[in-house]
Structure formats: structure tokens, C-alpha cells
Symmetry: C2
Subunit: 189 residues, 2 copies
Amino acid sequence: MVRAGLTPERLTRAGAELADEAGFDQVTLSALARRFDVKVASLYSHLKSSQELKTRIALFALEELADRVTASLAGRAGKDALAAFADAYRDYAREHPGRYDATRLRLDPETAAASAGVRHAQMTRAILRGYDLAEPDQTHAVRMLGSVFHGYVSLETAGGFSHTAVDPQESWEWILDSLDALLRARATS
Amino acid sequence: MVRAGLTPERLTRAGAELADEAGFDQVTLSALARRFDVKVASLYSHLKSSQELKTRIALFALEELADRVTASLAGRAGKDALAAFADAYRDYAREHPGRYDATRLRLDPETAAASAGVRHAQMTRAILRGYDLAEPDQTHAVRMLGSVFHGYVSLETAGGFSHTAVDPQESWEWILDSLDALLRARATS
DNA sequence: GCATTTGCCTAAAGCCTATAGGCAAATTAG
DNA sequence: CTAATTTGCCTATAGGCTTTAGGCAAATGC
């Protein structure tokens, strides 16, 4: 009996790939076991439950996305940073739709607090430094940016923009221009 | 053997209630059968599949939401209409989180085209009439509004705004003010 | 009243999660 | 280098959800 060499990490990674290929809701321990040519029960030596797998995929994706955003934000400020942030977000969702879905998994507060979700919030605030917003405007702006980016990406990947001839890329740029103008107009100075 | 008097409509309605109480992903034919004190197989006389039930709930919720928006939009224009639209959306999601989730169900194009989703798009365009936007700006604006509203509501109901002391209602108003200003600035005149 | 249709039932199969207990491979200890 | 222990994957089993097939009784129609 040759061992398959499973680890929580390998399973998480394979789960993320499966999510991108078949959808996050198709990620099951059964499907994963088939992928490793192993019996389902064997996975329970590495993962407590199906829920744990999903949570691990979510944390993995949050981390990966935060890394990308960090990289794309380096050395940028103002509108440049805003666009880099937004594009990193959108590109990730398009390249890895299943993982992006995973990032929307509701985590229990404790897990969320220890996750890369915190980095996301910090980076959003970092972008806003270029716009000189005082509290509570800064928090309002964080929420607005989060909403627009998540909403757009979510609607776009759900195919919500495919019924009009207008290029989604154009809309995206128009929206970024608009947000930039809006934030500049809100500056305290 | 007394008959339970099931119909697709009653099942859909009960499914919507179940969605609000337990979450849209907890809506199963099994749970519904329990609720009507009936065996699961009996439901298949009224619904083709679990998928059909979910689709029906989605269509029901889209219709209900569109009705609300229509009502709240009556006699309003400009920022007033924008706020009424946005509030109708957000209030619905807070009162009926399960149904709101259902509206995000991916429908096949044919079903979507025949759904109240079309009315939603029309109403968004109606609001924008007050801002005098030419194409393709109008389409960009439709997408932006859809993104912000959906994104905000989605993040808020997921508890994403509960880690800061700032009142979500204030953020919501700040965002509506911002969007109004943005759209006025984009007017063609 | 009798025939047909309709509505709910039992039975059964397939797939998913999860637990318990077993055996062999890998690791550690003497 | 072998023996003891731990670890990894297995079989078996049970419970839940979906779906289909076939049966019987209640409702409907002629």
C-alpha cells in the first residue's frame, strides 16, 4: 500500500484548483478524494471536516490575493494606487473565480481576525492616504471602495454585464475615474 | 389520507421563508417536506428538482423586490429617487436575507431574460434620467450603481462592517451623497 | 356511480459527510 | 538493526439529501 502523501496544505491547494475548475460549491471531500485517488475517509486524518477544508481554501485565497495586491501597490500612490488595487482584485477574480468565491465565505469572527482579511482592510486605508480623508470619512470611503470592487467583480463574473454591448473594461475605467474624482472632491484640505 | 394541498406556489413561498430563517443554502426539499409534514418524494409531483425550487424562489424574490422598488420610486426624481431605490434594496436585504441571497442565484439566460431582473435594469435607468447621462455613460453608471448597492448590502449582511464603530447608516448616506454628486458632475449639459 | 386523474405514499439507488476500528508503512528507540 | 510506536490509508457503517419508480386512495369528471 503506497501512501499518497496527503497534507492539509496539499489538500487545500488542490481544493482551490478544484474550486476554480468546477466552482467553489462543488468542492467536496469526495471530489478531492477522487482527485488524489484515495478513499474519502482517509482525508479525515488531515482535515476535521468539509467545513475546515472550505475555511482553509478561503484563508489561502485571502492570503494569495493580499499578496498580489501588496505587490501591485508597491511604489504607487493616488489614482495609480487606486487602479492597481482595483485591477489586482478584479484580475484575481477572473483568473481564479472559485478562489474569489471562497474569499466571500463567512468566517467566524476569531478566524477572520487572524486572517489576511485584516491586510485587505489595511491596504484599502493605505490607498486612501493619498486622498487625505479625515475620519469618519475614511471609513465611509473604505466601505464604498470595498462595495464597488466586490460588487462589480461579483456581478461581472456572474455574467451580469453580458446583456449590453458596452465593454466592461470601459465601464471599469469610467468607474475608477469617477471614484478618483469623488475622493479628491472629499479631501479635507 | 388527508391531502396536504401542496402547490408550486405554496412551496416556493415556504421556501422563501425557510431561506430567511435558515439561509438560502439550507433550503432543501427535505427541509421543506418536513415543514409540510409530508414525505420528500411527494414534492416531486410539484417541482421537477431541488434546482427548480431554488430558481422559483429566486424569481419570486426578484419580483417582490422589483415591486418594492417600483412603489418606493413613485413620484420621485433625482437624488430622492436614488436614495429611495437604494434604501428599498438595502431594506429588502435586511428584512429578507435569504430571499436577497436567492436573487443572486445564477439563472440561465433564458430564465433571466423573462424575469423581473429586467425591471430592475429598467428602474436603474429610470433613476438616471434625472441625471441626464448620454450613452455609454449611462450604462457605466448603471453598472456602478448596481455594484455599489449590491456590494454594500452584501458586505453589510455578511457582517463585514461590524468591526468598526462607525455607524453603517452614516456610511450609507455618505455614499449616496457621493454618488449623487458624482452623477451630477457627469451630466452632459 | 364509475373511470380517470391527481396527490401523496413506500421502496430503493446514488452521492455526500462523518465516525469507528483495522492493518501496514514509516518513524523512533533501545 | 530490530522492536515498539506512531501515522496514514483502508473497510465498514450510518445518516442525510436528491431523484426515480411504482402503488393506492382521494378528488374530479362524465
